[in-house]
């Protein structure tokens, strides 16, 4: 990652030198946020749920809320493909994360929303075994969560 970062910096410096990026920023085509967007490695490699949330949000202070709705199957026959939908009626949603507590690296996916995003995402994740699945929503700077257990008949991470 360090190597990647330094490459990225070199690349950015090069671009800045010829003014290409500043021109794009000036023209409003790129926001500083887009330029700084980076894959949150510490959160994705953390081996605990708390560690992943802390690494992602610099806080572990989550409030359980029924305004965060998590749709997962009660029983997943195939842990390799578990459908997950998260939606919320909270306002000013900045991000939505899907965390599988018992996976070796619990953080599965993290969505960064914009003011144009509808806070309703779905995807499919792998689960090694039966586990609590958490949906974490950051809205107005605070963390809200809801969780649900998914029973896995055949794990989806082994080989």
């Amino acid at each position: 990652m360090h190597e990647l970062n330094s490459k990225r910096r070199t690349f950015l410096k090069g671009m800045l030198a010829n003014g290409a990026i500043s021109a794009l920023v000036g023209a409003g085509l790129l926001t500083p946020r887009q330029l700084l967007a980076a894959w949150p490695e510490a959160a994705f490699t953390s081996d605990s749920l708390d560690g992943a949330v802390q690494a992602l949000y610099s806080s572990g202070d989550m409030e359980e809320s029924d305004r965060v709705r998590l749709k997962v199957p009660e029983i997943a026959e195939n842990g390799a493909v578990v459908p997950v939908r998260v939606e919320t009626d909270l306002e000013n949603v900045e991000s939505i994360s899907i965390v599988v507590a018992e996976n070796p690296s619990p953080l599965a996916a993290m969505f960064e929303l914009t003011p144009r995003s509808i806070p309703n995402v779905s995807t499919r994740v792998k689960m090694g075994k039966t586990s609590q699945v958490l949906a974490v929503v950051k809205a107005d700077g605070r963390l809200y969560s809801t969780q649900s257990e998914v029973k896995v008949t055949i794990g989806g991470c082994g080989g």
């Binding site: 894959w39 070796p104 690296s105 960064e112 509808i118 309703n120 995402v121 995807t123 499919r124 792998k126």
Partner: protein
């Protein structure tokens, strides 16, 4: 190995719904090759960006726990039938793919 991206983008009136399927192995790095017993190196999509008419409407960061050939459904406002949606991904090896589709 730039995989294909299938996109279905639909104007639902109040918002646009985008459903997409990306073809990618999403290897966790913990699976063993059944013949050689060697670990199969991790290979997974890390960043997905969805743009509408050139503006980012939602981004996703993924780990290897997202299923093989990932499915993603999102929704956003500010676009309508005839506009263009662009889906792109970058994986942990720096490979990438991009696909555009018209909103129906």
């Amino acid at each position: 190995m730039a995989g294909s991206i299938k996109i279905r983008a639909k104007d639902k009136g109040e918002h646009v719904e985008v459903k997409t399927l990306m073809s990618h192995a999403m290897e966790t790095g913990t699976r063993k090759d059944s013949k050689t017993g060697d670990l199969i190196p991790a290979h997974y999509i890390r960043e997905v960006t969805i743009e509408a008419n050139g503006e980012v409407v939602i981004r996703a960061n993924w780990g290897p726990a997202v299923s093989k050939n990932p499915y993603l459904s999102v929704a956003f406002t500010g676009a309508s039938r005839g506009d263009t949606v662009k889906v792109s991904w970058v994986d942990n090896k720096g490979e990438s793919a991009t696909q555009e589709a018209e909103i129906k």
